[in-house]
Amino acid sequence: MDAHASVGHAELEIPYNVHPRPDTGLYNAKLGVWLFLASEVMLFGALFSSLILLRTGADSWPRGYEFLNVKLATFNTFILILSSVTVVMAWSHLRLGNLKKGRIYISATVFCALVFLTAKGFEYAHEFRENRFPKTNNFLAIYFTMTGLHGLHILGGVIVFLYFLGPGAKMWAKEPERYTNRIEIVGLYWHFVDLVWIFLFPILYLM
């Protein structure tokens, strides 16, 4: 049944690496990534809580929409939502056994991510030119910390996607199902990173 699981591996085989365990309905990495995302929720949750505490305790709080580039951020929001769609497309094409189309959609996801990062870079450069730094006030401090951390998450996703486009894609020849699973997992992570932005955008730019 597990035709490709035992091929060419010197290392130990772990059960349910590729196929779901019948009673839990999950393969190992899928459970793993959900747990990881739970910890990420706690990480960003702590930062959002800090923002709320700082804001409610502040005498005055700058409004993001007065000086941040709301239009560019709106554009970025749509770019990220689009990338969430493309990563699902990539996964569904891989599920259908079409590596070529899968790769095209992974590339599209990476492209969206890079557009997002570039736009963010322009925003940062603009703030720095206007003498707005993390140390200027607590709004900018939390703005730079949270968007910076989010940007690092995007960058991490890009690196993983690039790996699966390049050397990681070799796995397709022997274990297409495992490769597809991996894209599903990084896709779940990617949706989470998008979701964080969906929260960051209104809280930092609109409220």
């Binding site: 049944m1 597990d2 699981a5 035992s6 010197a10 290392e11 130990l12 085989e13 772990i14 059960p15 349910y16 365990r21 019948p22 839990t24 999950l26 393969y27 190992n28 990495a29 459970l31 793993g32 747990l35 990881f36 739970a38 910890s39 990420e40 706690m42 990480l43 960003f44 949750g45 702590a46 930062l47 800090s50 505490l53 700082l54 305790g57 502040a58 005498d59 730094f133 993390p134 140390k135 200027t136 006030n137 607590n138 401090a141 939390i142 730079f144 910390t145 951390l149």
Partner: protein, 638 residues
């Protein structure tokens, strides 16, 4: 009712869907068996095998070794502090190891005392006990006890160790930073920590590594326990240790990220000049700080204790798990109240997330919040009491074997009891006003962690040493180790309650000699406590010799052949693996199937005194068998 199709399998009729299920299961078992045989003899390079190993057993040993070294180091820092506390201002030649800048002429400086204090706490908790309890015992035992070939993600497991180790090195390297290492206590409260010298930045970076390590490890443990359980090992057949590790992993997974966020924010405060934790108008050494201000030092405390209270249970739950295993084994009885212990553990895990602010009663957060956290704190003591009481009652009527692991496990019970009960006044806001930040607090949590958790760790080392090496540790020296440690450790910590009740504050460089109210009791007790600390250090010598003598003997192949694969006559699955499972070759020759609960000792009506979990039941299984129900037979014959 729709008719289901039946097919004939051998001499039996089965429903098609049930036959399909059985076939899938059979294929899975065959696959597992093939896998278990398949990796018999391949060769690995030395580095892959011993340095960047992906084998959970070796990683466990790596964790254990490193953590024990850190424990010893943390203890040595404390010895230096105790010398200063016992005989304030006296010169000691041993103090000169700290260098002229910290101890000129062998007299410890106050700022160096602060550094030792901060690093003692950090090293003991984050580099010593958690890695030993979770990294070493968890890694080594959980896959064996659930009958798994390895952890679910072996490479992640390796990465976890290799985040922990550099994190530890960074912590150590911070001693060399200009201005010395972190000196704001293990809690690193701002604003002091933000304006402290460079060592604090190193501390924060080290913490980020350690947090990452814990996160990787906890994901791995949870997935391993849920996914790689052996066939037949349902949750209520887990050894209690596995439950303890399971809940611990959830605590690590969900409690550490807020500290990571807090560390990032403090790092921003220190490096990028933000003021998350710096209020406006702060004046340091007569000069106003140029920071923007507007921050909130309490924010750090909330984020820190949101981790650090669950962390307390991270320290204690694996210890309870170890003690439970050893008590069941050495009383030759099942644990009393196993189910209630399990549910208490899960409840404890949930509650540990809503008690954190009882560390902050004196910060002025308001009586409403204090009342809430006081209530939750009283509630959380209930599951601890359930677990401890169950362990006590488990002793009742057993024919107890007083071997070294059992001695440590037995000592754990009253010691943890003292630690836990002295915590109750601290959880009540009114009593805490008097006791907060005194030696009473130090006595309380050291009773939980030192003669509590560390004794449980010792028990675990003595108990599972034969599993890892094929040799038993010497019983005589084990008992010497136990009795001297037991007497000395109480000599250190018990007087702390008296000191604290007399109002001696913690973190005092001279142990209270400069305060009129504290002077008398400090002079009466501190030298005695320091002598006990030195006695405790001496008591570890037989353990260290015993440990290394036997570990080295095992490493050069001199195993005790007469010991057999199950020297303690235990029932749990780790003893069903081959004698001290060979490294990097999987754990079980054939993956075990579990038929029984974890502690079938002295079962009435059975001839065997103990029945391992993987022993098949003698009579046919009452449920889940392939026999066709009579009604179905009747329908077919019609």
């Amino acid at each position: 009712m729709a008719l289901r199709r039946q097919i004939r399998v051998g001499s039996q009729w089965m429903y098609a869907d049930e036959a399909h299920k059985a076939l899938r299961e059979a294929l899975r078992v065959m696959e597992d068996e093939k896998v278990a045989e398949g990796h018999g003899g391949h060769h690995q390079s030395f580095i892959r095998r011993y340095v960047f190993s992906t084998d959970h057993k070796w990683i466990g040993i790596q964790y254990g070794f490193t953590a024990l070294l850190f424990l010893l180091l943390g203890f040595c820092l404390m010895i230096l502090m105790r010398l200063q506390l016992g005989w304030p201002g006296q010169a000691f030649s041993i103090m000169k190891v700290l260098g002229e800048s910290r101890a000129p002429g062998g007299v410890l400086l106050p700022e160096a005392y602060n550094q030792l204090g901060a690093m003692h706490g950090t090293i003991m908790i984050f580099l010593g006990i958690v890695p030993l309890a979770v990294g070493a015992f968890g890694n080594y035992l959980v896959p064996l006890q659930i009958g798994a070939p390895d952890m679910a993600f072996p490479k992640l497991n390796m990465a976890s160790y290799w985040c922990y180790f550099p994190g530890g090195l960074i912590m150590l390297a911070s001693f060399l930073a200009p201005g010395g290492t972190a000196q704001s206590g293990w809690t690193s409260y701002p604003p002091l920590s933000v304006i402290a010298s460079q060592g604090q930045t190193w501390w924060l970076i080290g913490m980020v590594f350690l947090i990452t390590s814990s996160l990787l490890g906890s994901v791995n443990f949870i997935v391993t326990i849920i996914q790689l359980r052996a066939k037949g090992l349902t949750y209520m057949r887990f050894p209690f240790f596995v439950h303890a590790q399971f809940v611990t992993s959830f605590l690590l997974l969900l409690a550490f990220p807020p500290l990571e966020a807090a560390a990032v924010l403090q790092l921003m405060d220190r490096v990028a000049g933000t003021s998350f934790f710096l209020p406006s108008g702060l004046v340091v050494s007569g000069q106003a700080l140029t920071n923007a201000g507007g921050g909130n030092p309490l924010l750090w405390q909330h984020l820190f204790w949101f981790l650090a209270h669950p962390e307390v249970y991270v320290l204690i739950l694996p210890a309870m798990g170890i003690v439970a295993e050893i008590i069941a084994n050495n009383t030759r009885k099942p644990l009393w109240g196993y189910k209630s212990m399990v549910f208490a553990t899960v409840f404890l895990g949930f509650m540990s997330f809503v008690v954190w602010a009882h560390h902050m009663f004196l910060t002025g957060m308001g009586t409403t919040i204090s009342a809430f956290f006081q209530t939750t704190t009283m509630i959380i003591s209930i599951p601890s009491v359930i677990i401890l009481s169950s362990l006590f009652i488990s002793l009742w009527g057993g024919s107890i074997r007083f071997n070294t692991p059992m001695m440590f496990a037995l000592a754990f019970l009253p010691m943890f009891g003292i630690g836990g009960l002295t915590g109750l006044p601290l959880g009540l806001a009114a009593a805490d006003i008097h006791l907060h930040d005194t030696y009473y607090v130090i006595g309380h949590f050291h009773y939980v962690v030192a003669p509590g958790t560390i004794f449980a760790m010792f028990a675990g080392i003595y108990y599972w040493f034969p599993k890892a090496t094929g040799r038993k540790l010497n019983e005589f020296w084990g008992k010497v180790h136990f009795w001297v440690s037991f007497v000395c450790i109480n000599g250190i910590f018990f007087p702390m309650f008296a000191q604290g009740l007399a109002g001696v504050s913690r973190r005092l460089y001279d142990g209270g000699m400069q305060y009129a109210h504290a002077k008398q009791i400090a002079a009466q007790t501190n030298p005695f406590m320091s002598i006990c600390a030195i006695g405790l250090l001496t008591a570890q010598v037989p353990f260290i010799c015993n440990f290394f003598y036997n570990a080295i003997a095992a490493a050069i192949g001199r195993r005790d052949e007469g010991l057999g694969s199950n020297p303690w006559q235990a029932t749990t699955l780790e003893w069903a693996a081959t004698t001290s499972p060979p490294l990097a070759h999987g754990n079980f020759e054939v993956l075990p199937v579990v038929y029984r609960g974890p502690y079938e000792y002295s079962v009435p009506g059975e001839t065997a005194e103990f029945i391992p979990q993987n022993t098949p039941l003698t009579e046919p299984a009452p449920r889940g068998g392939g026999l066709l129900p009579t009604t179905a037979v009747a329908m077919r014959e019609n």
